[in-house]
């Protein structure tokens, strides 16, 4: 490039010093391209927040619903007025439903994920890397509707045969979500375990620890923040999952009074209702409020992840 510049100009030294070289122009171009991409994304994110939040607040500002009653009310009856002629918007059953499926599935999935990850990293790292890792990554990419469909055709009838009832409910949702978030938690836990430096293992074994003692006393403790991050990631995915849960949870907007009774989550009521309500009606506004709750929760999960991410139990040695 530089050579060609020299050849084309009449006063080569001055020209080349004063004029921007093509490389510099490319540099500028690249920089402005990535800057404008950044600005575009920033604008999109900001607009989504503004849009969802302002629509979500309309239920309180324009329709005059009491926010406290909205969050803690237990009766969800948006379309048919009760005997007093009032519609009731109590989102507590859905909030409880969402938290129940999220916490339960994370509770069940975490031990499995940690065990799988330990096997892949500590016990059989060759085999684990070659076979298990691609399998887990493949599982992460399966669309949620597939999980939901399997839940509807396999899990629900199985629960019905085993426990009676309709089979739909929190338990079915938990099982489907457990399978869904297991690969997410596993692959992030694998990363966390790999981040533990090798001298931790060597040191533990050198002072006479068994393999189990090394794993339990050293590796897992050092990797705790990473594993927690993995769990919270899994929970965030579970909390926001709509389709798969909607297919198996039964979508009855009532307080869950058992794991086998039909219940509902924020997402399932939202996806079911949005096509049946018209823009500008109370029924539509409260769905936006549910969306706002979901957005706030995902922010909350993000905050937790950042908070945990700052802590680490690993020191890099070299005193």
């Amino acid at each position: 490039m530089a050579r060609r510049n020299k050849k084309n100009s009449q006063d080569p030294i001055k020209e080349s010093l004063l004029r921007k070289s093509i490389s510099a122009k490319k540099d500028m171009f690249g920089r402005s391209l990535s800057l404008s991409a950044l600005i575009l994304i920033g604008v999109v994110v900001f607009s989504i927040f503004f849009f969802v939040l302002s629509r979500g607040l309309m239920a309180f500002t324009l329709d005059g619903i009491n926010p406290f009653k909205f969050i803690f009310g237990t009766v969800w009856n948006p379309t048919t007025p009760d005997s007093n002629g009032n519609l009731q918007f109590g989102a507590f059953p859905m909030i409880v439903g969402s938290f129940l499926v999220t916490l339960l599935s994370a509770l069940v999935a975490t031990p499995f994920a940690i065990a799988t990850a330990l096997f892949m990293v500590e016990l059989q790292s060759n085999w684990g890397k070659k076979i298990m890792h691609p399998v887990v990554e493949l599982l992460v990419g399966i669309p949620s509707v597939v999980y939901g469909f399997i839940g509807l055709t396999v899990v629900v009838p199985l629960l019905r045969k085993t426990f009676g009832g309709s089979g739909f409910g929190i338990l079915a949702g938990t099982i489907v979500l457990f399978v869904m978030i297991l690969p997410t938690i596993t692959s992030l836990t694998v990363d966390a375990l790999r981040n533990v430096p090798n001298h931790y293992r060597e040191l533990a074994l050198a002072i006479g620890a068994t393999r189990w003692q090394m794993i339990y006393k050293v590796i897992l403790r050092a990797a705790t923040p990473g594993i927690l991050t993995a769990v919270v990631f899994g929970m965030a995915r579970a909390f926001g999952e709509a389709l798969a849960v909607q297919m198996v949870v039964g979508n009855a907007p009532i307080m869950p009074n058992g794991l086998l009774e039909s219940a509902s989550t924020l997402t399932s009521i939202l996806t079911q209702g949005i096509g049946n309500t018209s823009d500008g009606s109370v029924q539509n506004d409260v769905l936006w409020t549910l969306a706002t709750l979901l957005l706030i929760m995902s922010l909350f999960f993000n905050l937790i992840i950042r908070f945990i991410g700052k802590r680490t139990n690993i020191t890099q040695g070299g005193h």
Partner: protein, 298 residues
Amino acid sequence: MKKNLIRIGIILIAVLALYYGSTHRGLTSNTVSSTHATTKNILIVGSTALQPLVEKASSMYEKENPNTSISVQGGGSGAGLTQVQAGSVQIGDSDIFASQEEGIKPSKIVDHKVAVVGIAPVVNKDINVSNLSMKQLRDIFTGKITNWKDVGGPDMAITVVNRSSGSGTRTVFEDSVLKGETAVKAQEQDSNGTVQKIISSTPGSISYLASGYISGKNLRAVKVDNVSLTTENIENNKWKIWGYEHMYTHGKAEGQTASFIKYFKSKKVQNGIVKELGYIPLAGMKVDKNSQGKVTSK
């Protein structure tokens, strides 16, 4: 100090923006007006129950009028009404009258009834109940009867499956059956297809389906007051649970939109695919039903 001031400023602006945004519906709502219903490209959005019928009719229409293109989308009755009111589509399909939907101004849009749909209670095949009185049906769906033995069936709990609140089929069913009583809180599913699948596979379950979906060997329709769902019974209102399928246009239908609706109401479509897909042609109806559910003979 300066940093804090900037932070407070940003928060203040955000709060003000949110306050303004949340009190002015026009800012974020779908209220753009208005395209006239005259274009060659017809966009149809709305009711999923009517969607298969409209899709078939539009592909037939496109064959006969090659320079018109029609695209048909689902989304639900509410979406159809919202978008046609805003003028962003030419036709909004709906299972219910516009006046039954909150937030819709019926004066802005014009109703075209295009077909009649019958809705019947369906039960899982294990339930040997073939007839229910209207009162029994109401008591089941309001939660007063919870066991099949109370209506002459086996000793088995009743699993009620509802459509999601606001769905057109549910609105028609509840208007005809519940008489203003509140439905029992039960499982809700968001389409005829899902309900069909669940009733077929869940012992002791009951729900309701549009006539086009009542098929399959694991479920059966139930007579109400000893009347079964047939075209003739709906036409003379012996079968009470039925409603209209509507096409709404923004203002008066013009141009291609008008001629498509006219085509849809023609004998060819009404006696052809409308019947084939389990709907009932308008022409045979001996009664009228208004948006309050009042029935008058023609």
